[in-house]
């Protein structure tokens, strides 16, 4: 039962990374302006997330390390995006003053849309992987191994 749970967990994060990579890739593609720094950041994050999923799916013995790298990449990307958004809001607040209640509602909505993918998911993944790594004695599920 424990083995099955652990396998599902790794599979779940591998798929979760793919979903996050897809969302980040589509969002990056939808940007109206091509800016090499932003594009490079999106490409690197997508590569890290997809690569970690691929390793987790096809090399189960390295799954946890790969997923950790993927989650760290997603978290770093998320923190950068949130920082850019916060600095953008601060810039607008500095130049335009208080936006009023309408502005606050819009900002909160945007934040609520982005935070689950860019912050909550990678943090949950990192914590789960850390717990797994901290428990080295536990049996691991290895694809193709005899029961």
């Amino acid at each position: 039962m424990a083995i099955a749970t652990r396998g599902r967990l790794e599979l779940g994060f591998a798929l979760g990374n793919l979903v996050s990579a897809l969302l980040i890739g589509l969002s990056g593609h939808a940007l109206p302006v091509r800016y090499f720094l932003a594009d490079a950041l999106v490409v690197l994050t997508v590569l890290a997330a997809v690569g970690s999923s691929a390793v987790a799916l096809f090399r189960p013995d390295r799954a946890l390390m790969a997923l950790r790298v993927g989650a760290l990449a997603l978290l770093a990307f998320g923190l950068l995006v949130i920082a850019a958004a916060a600095l953008g809001v601060a810039y607008l607040y500095g130049t335009q003053g208080d936006f009023g209640r309408g502005g606050l509602v819009i900002m909160v909505l945007v934040l609520l849309l982005a935070v689950p993918y860019l912050f909550v998911y990678p943090v949950v993944a990192l914590l789960a992987i850390h717990r797994r790594l901290a428990d080295p004695g536990a049996p691991r599920e290895v694809r193709g191994a005899s029961p």
Partner: protein, 546 residues
């Protein structure tokens, strides 16, 4: 990474990010409420052109005292702030539209673009291309740099590379900061001024000057028959209210133009159209204008054209109450498509015709159309949260109320108005005068026409709600929001507005501009605003009589 490690990282991240944000806000922030000006920019304007400019630290009122310019305007710099970059995206949002000016220093020379200059350029609140899309910017960089460059002898590119920019927070001396109080007298003045604006806009041939720009003096080549009819409806309405012969004469001219040039065959019927495809809205709004003029006794000869238009409208109604909104004149058949507004317009026009002539068929058609309008498909849950521009629906609801009260329609309009109230602009620091505007986001300029059409609907809703004796608290909220928005509208009506910017200020007096900084006046802007103000004035007068 452990939970403790993550928490440590999060704490560090938050501290650094919040510090950066705070530093940015403090660095960029300004104090628009500062009481004493740091310096004053005195400009002499004539015929909409700025010919003189002096910047002084004191005694501004004495400068240009003997100027031969027709208007001397003092703009006080009450505070200033940095401009971080000339990157179009950040520069475009470095200024509060309508309030901030731009200063540049270039090789020892200084030039200033004040809010007046930027309004004159039409450079505030502009949609500009950004890659594959367009984005609305607080200020358009290129025209402002061209203007500044002219004064310091540099090209925009030279200014971008070598210029040092500052943001100037400017308060125009003598300009009212807060919207006016809503009183019957102020409403009356605003209503008549809007009517006079439209009357001046009707040429001898009965066509309107469609969309002049008060700041540049240019005119749009566009024309639109539903808007011609709508503007004529308001002219007729205000002429009936004031019994003013000049307004009545203008409404009559605009109506004769419709009769002589656009009332044409649509198969076996007569409709208002130009070209092969007729739209329902032109005929519906023309009927509305005709009814107003007929009822007021200005044009009794309109009875026959009214009946012809009613026959056309009735023929366009489907069995379920909806209207087909287009008619193919070549094929002589209706086109069953639905566009915004037209069903509500037809319902209102038919009911008004019915009341004027006691025609039962048109009343039934109007009632069925309204029932259809407020009966969305059961699977669409969005209708509880999202509304289109439903002003005609609410006008129709109110017009029908005395003979066929539709409580679902009243609830629909009340809910819409609640949403309008809740999303209205309030407390925007850069523009306290925008309080009560009901269109425009938290940063972009509010369009007056959006607030106008919502407020004309609010008046109709208020009228019906009072007659329906709904909860007085809801009526109170509705009326409070309405009055706040009407104050906003009157505040920005061109009475006379920044007349020194205008090549022809006398022509523009009474108009309602597109936004506070975009002074284009399309004929439907005074129509919608005027209707809201006039109908509310009538409500107040009626309440007083009773």
């Amino acid at each position: 990474m452990s939970l403790r490690g993550l928490l440590r990282l999060a704490r560090l991240y938050l501290v650094v990010l919040l510090s950066l944000c705070l530093a940015l806000i403090v660095h960029l922030g300004v104090n628009p409420a500062a009481s004493s000006p740091q310096r004053s920019i005195v400009s002499g304007w004539s015929g909409g052109v700025r010919n003189e400019r002096v910047i002084v630290t004191e005694g501004a009122e004495r400068v240009l005292k003997d100027s031969r310019e027709s208007s001397v305007v003092i703009e006080d710099v009450v505070d200033e702030g940095p401009v971080l970059t000339t990157s179009p995206l950040l520069f475009g949002w470095a200024f509060a539209p309508g309030r901030d000016g731009v200063e540049v220093r270039y090789r020892g020379r200084v030039a200033v673009a004040t809010p007046d200059d930027i309004v004159k350029l039409g450079a505030y609140d502009r949609w500009l291309p950004l890659g594959t899309t367009e984005l609305r910017f607080a200020i358009a960089e290129e025209p402002v740099l061209r203007l500044l460059g002219r004064d310091v002898g540099a090209t925009p590119d030279e200014l971008r590379h070598e210029g040092e920019f500052r943001r100037l927070v400017i308060r125009k001396r003598g300009a009212p900061l807060r919207p006016p109080e809503v009183t019957k007298e102020r409403l009356r003045q605003a209503v008549i001024a809007a009517g006079q604006y439209l009357a001046r806009a009707v040429g001898p041939d009965g066509r309107y000057r469609y969309e002049p720009d008060a700041a540049s003096g240019s005119e749009s080549p566009d024309y639109n028959w539903p808007r011609h009819s709508g503007a004529t409806w308001y002219l007729a309405d205000v002429a009936a209210y004031t019994r003013n012969p000049v307004l009545a004469s203008a409404a009559t001219r605009a109506t004769r133009h419709l009769l002589d040039h656009t009332l044409i065959d649509c198969g076996p019927y007569r409709c208002i159209a130009e070209g092969d495809v007729a739209d329902l809205g032109s005929s519906a709004l023309a009927l509305l204008a005709f009814v107003e003029l007929y009822e007021a006794g200005f044009m009794p000869e309109l009875l026959d054209p009214m009946r012809e238009l009613v026959r056309f409208l009735l023929a366009m109604q489907r069995p379920d109450g909806e209207f087909m909104h287009r008619y193919d004149r070549a094929e002589k058949r209706p086109i069953d498509v639905q566009l915004l507004y037209y069903t509500g317009e037809a319902s209102l026009a038919l009911e008004r015709f019915s009341r004027a002539t006691k025609d039962e068929k048109s009343h039934v058609a109007a009632r069925r159309a309204l029932e259809r309008l407020v009966d969305p498909p059961f699977w669409y849950v969005g209708w509880r949260y999202f509304w289109g521009s439903e002003h005609w629906t609410c006008h129709a609801m109110n017009a029908l109320w005395s003979r066929a009260p539709n409580h679902a329609a009243l609830r629909f309009c009340l809910d819409w108005q609640e949403s309008v109230r809740d999303l209205a602009i309030r407390g925007r620091a850069a523009a306290p005068a925008f309080d009560g505007a009901t269109s425009g986001g938290p940063l972009v300029m509010p369009q007056l026409v959006g607030s106008s059409s919502r407020m004309e609907a609010a008046v109709s809703t208020l009228d019906a709600a009072k007659r329906a004796h709904i909860d007085p608290r809801e009526i109170e909220l509705l009326e409070a929001g309405l009055r706040e928005s009407l104050a906003f509208l009157m505040h920005f009506q061109l009475r006379p507005g920044p007349r020194h910017l205008m090549p022809s200020p006398a022509l523009m007096n009474g108009g309602f501009p597109m936004t506070p900084t975009d002074l284009r006046v399309r004929i439907d802007y005074p129509q919608h605003a005027g209707t809201a103000l006039l109908h509310y004035l009538r409500l107040l007068e009626s309440a007083e009589r009773h």
